[in-house]
Structure formats: C-alpha cells, structure tokens
Amino acid sequence: MKLNLKIWRQKDAKTKGELVDYTLKGIEGDMSFLEMLDVLNEQLINKGEEPVQFDHDCREGICGACSLQINGEPHGPDRLVTTCQLHMRKFNDGDTIVIEPFRATAFPVITDLVVDRSAFDRIQQAGGYISVNTSGNTVDANAIPINKHDADEAMDAATCIGCGACVAACKNASAMLFTSAKVSQFALLPQGRVEAVDRVQNMVRQMDLEGFGNCTNTGACEVECPKGISLKNIARMNREYLSASVKG
C-alpha cells in the first residue's frame, strides 16, 4: 500500500518543529507501525537524510517506550495496543497519516517524536513504593493472606506500562490515570496501607508540580490506555486523597 505521511520533525528541544510530508510505497499489512517507520528511515538514510527518531524498545507492547500520536490518537486507532503492536492492516492504501509526538508541557520534545517522560519517574519517586529493606528475613510471603479479588484488582492497576498515552489523550494533559494506578495498586494491598496517607499526598503533589493538567473526568485516558487501566483507579485515588487530607 501507498501512504502519505505527515511527520513532526524537530531538530532539538530549542528548535521549532513542523510537519513534514513523506510518501511511502510498498507497505504491507503485516508490518507493525514502527516497522513502517523503519522502512521510511532506511529510505531516508539511503538518500542521505536524517532518519525520524522515535522511542521504542521491546516492540511487544510491554516496555511502554513507544508513543506517537497517530491521526490524533495516542497509539493510533486500534484499541488496547501500543504503537509497536499496531499493524498496518488497520490502514488503507492512499491514507494520510499524521504522526506527532505526545504533547504535554510536562513531556517536552527532545527531538522529532521523542519526548521526555521523566516526570513520570519523579512521580513514582515521590512515593510509588513500599518502604521495605532487602534483608532476606521479611515475613513469609504467605503470612498475610490477601483476598483474591483485591489482589486481582491490584494487579489490574499494576499493569500500567507508563507510556503516557493517558496524558497524551487527555484534553487537559492530566496524569491522573497514571498516578492513580500506582496509588491504587498499593492502596488495595495490606502492605501498602501503612504509608497510604503520605504516598497519595506526595505523589499528587509531585504530579501537580510537574505541570500536568487537572482531571475533568472525560474518560479519554481509559479508552486510549493500551492496558485498559480503569477510571475506577482515579476515583480510588480521589478517595484516598480526601481521606488523607482529613487525617492530615
């Protein structure tokens, strides 16, 4: 198939970027979206031009490195997939595809389609952990039984891959789904309750400091999340935050 691509090109953080047109032929439906970009890059290199830079690593939908706003949606039109698992069979011959970096003030562009998502790391550093030292003599893993339902819900929250699609999709560039997934995972487990009050306050404070927008419950994040993280987590974080505020 033949495609018309409009790709955001930007030399570095300081330079202004723009959409550049490319035409690409011979794309097969079995290719992943990133393999389509590989083909483009191989052609650009052979022509002596600089290839399009984009983040990617595992290419099996789990590392969360790949991003891309494709035709106005993070990870493209398919649901429950990352860009690396999006296949070209979802597009038609002659389609125009607009490819932009994830946009948020908290995700500054580094170059082309590569953005800096270290704000997410800093949110996790603010409290996304349970304070336990590695001693080799913590309590036995089966000492505290955990209700299967809670354990499963914690697991569902924990599947977040930190790709940033929630922020990219949100009209407010809010990071509530990301932050709430970690808060929820620990809120649901007895191990996590001990530090629950500090955790939610510190993580939300850091989230706000990073300059993410405010959640207005549009639900776009849940729809676009490649791992299907539920809005319930945001509600849970709101509860946690309110109760933490009351407790001080």
Binding site: N71, G72, T105, A169, N172, N214, T216, A235, N238, R239
Partner: protein, 222 residues
C-alpha cells in the same frame, strides 16, 4: 480559599461540590417555577416567601451567590491551567474518538450558561433589588406571576432562554455524574448514577423550556 485550591484533586472537589450544590438549587428553582404553570397562587405565595424571608435572603442567597461564583471562577481557573498543561497543541487531535462532546466542552456550555445567568439576573434579581431597595415599593404578594409571564412575551428572550437550557442540559449531562467520580464514587451504583444524571439532565432543562414556552404562548392580557 487558598487551602481549597492547593492541589489538583482539591480543586476538582471544589468544582464537584459547588456543582452538586447548584444541581440541587436547580431542582428547587424548578419546583417553584413549575407552580407558575400548574398552581399560580402557590407560585405567588412561594415567590413572596423567598423574596421576604430573612433566612432565605440573608443566609441562603449569599451562599448561593458564593456557590455560583466559586463554581465559575474555579472552572475558568482550571481551564486556564489545563490550557497551560499543553502549551503546544496537536496539529491533529481526535477528541471525539475517546470522549463525549459534553465532557470535552464544559467550558463552552458553562460560559453560555454564565452569560445566560447574566441576563437572568438582570431580568429578575436586579428587578427585585430595584423594586425592594431602590424604589422601596410596598410588599405585594400577588405580583410575581404576572411579572414572570411578562418577561416571556418577547420571542427573542424566550429563544435565548430555550437555547441556554439546552446548553445547561449538555453541561449537566457530563457534570452531574462526573462530580460523583471526583468524590471517589465509582462502584456498583455508578451505572445508576449515570442513568439518573441523564434523566435529570433532560427532564429539568426540558421542564424549564416548557415553562418558558408556556408563558410565551399564554400571555396575561388585561
């Protein structure tokens, strides 16, 4: 106030609580207004009570005004903040793929409702203030229905009211249920809350529209 706005979640909660308060006020306002159609004497009686009762005038009215101001001021402040959170916009952004028009355009529906509120205050509240405190006219428990019906004589004003109520409906459609999510309620009752929201968002504005049209087409002629 600064304590209420120190974090994004606190700001959300302020929006949700003030919104819920206004939803409740709307219901109360509707109940009084509908009597203007079905029981005109009751309408006059209740209106007079609202206009001259000390508790309503000096406690509830200021609370309502504060609620309105907080809701709108916070809404606008949030919109500005949210805009800054994506300083460089997408060239292509397909919001319709993942969220409803209502949820994405609360600021538009909200501002229209705000503009309407200006007109509405001019029509009724300013009039009341003028009547009571500037002209210092005597109490007249029977004047309210007639005054109200008069307002709906002009076709243009009636249309503005109708359009505003449509936008209010859209605002409620997202906002009402959304405030529960903000307050941390997302459980087995959420589907029920959603349904109730939709019914409320249709029935109440439709009722107001009915009242406006009823009075427009049934003018009081002496």
């Amino acid at each position: 106030m600064s304590g209420l706005t120190k974090s994004s979640i606190a700001r959300k909660v302020v929006m949700a609580l003030s919104g819920l308060f206004l939803v409740f006020f709307l219901l109360q306002h509707f109940i009084i207004n509908i009597t203007s159609v079905i029981a005109p004497d009751t309408f006059n009686e209740w209106s007079h009570f609202m206009g001259y009762n000390g508790l309503v005038q000096y406690i509830l009215q200021p609370v309502l005004i504060a609620g309105v101001i907080v809701h709108f001021a916070m809404g606008i402040a949030l919109e500005i903040k949210n805009n800054k959170a994506r300083a460089i916009k997408y060239k292509q952004y397909k919001g319709s793929a993942n969220a409803s028009w209502m949820s994405r355009n609360m600021i538009i529906t909200g501002l229209v409702v705000l503009a309407f509120l200006g007109l509405h205050l001019y029509d009724f509240w300013i009039h009341e203030i003028t009547y009571k405190y500037i002209e210092v006219s005597p109490e007249d428990p029977t004047r309210y229905l007639e005054e109200t019906v008069h307002k709906f004589e002009p076709f243009a004003r009636t249309i503005i009211y109708v359009i505003s109520f449509v936008l209010l409906s859209l605002h409620l459609w997202h906002g009402f249920a959304s405030s529960f999510q903000t307050m941390g309620v997302n459980n087995k009752y959420s589907a029920g809350i959603q349904t109730f929201t939709k019914i409320y968002a249709i029935v109440i504005p439709l009722g107001f529209i009915f009242i406006a049209l009823y009075h427009h087409f049934n003018p009081i002629t002496h």
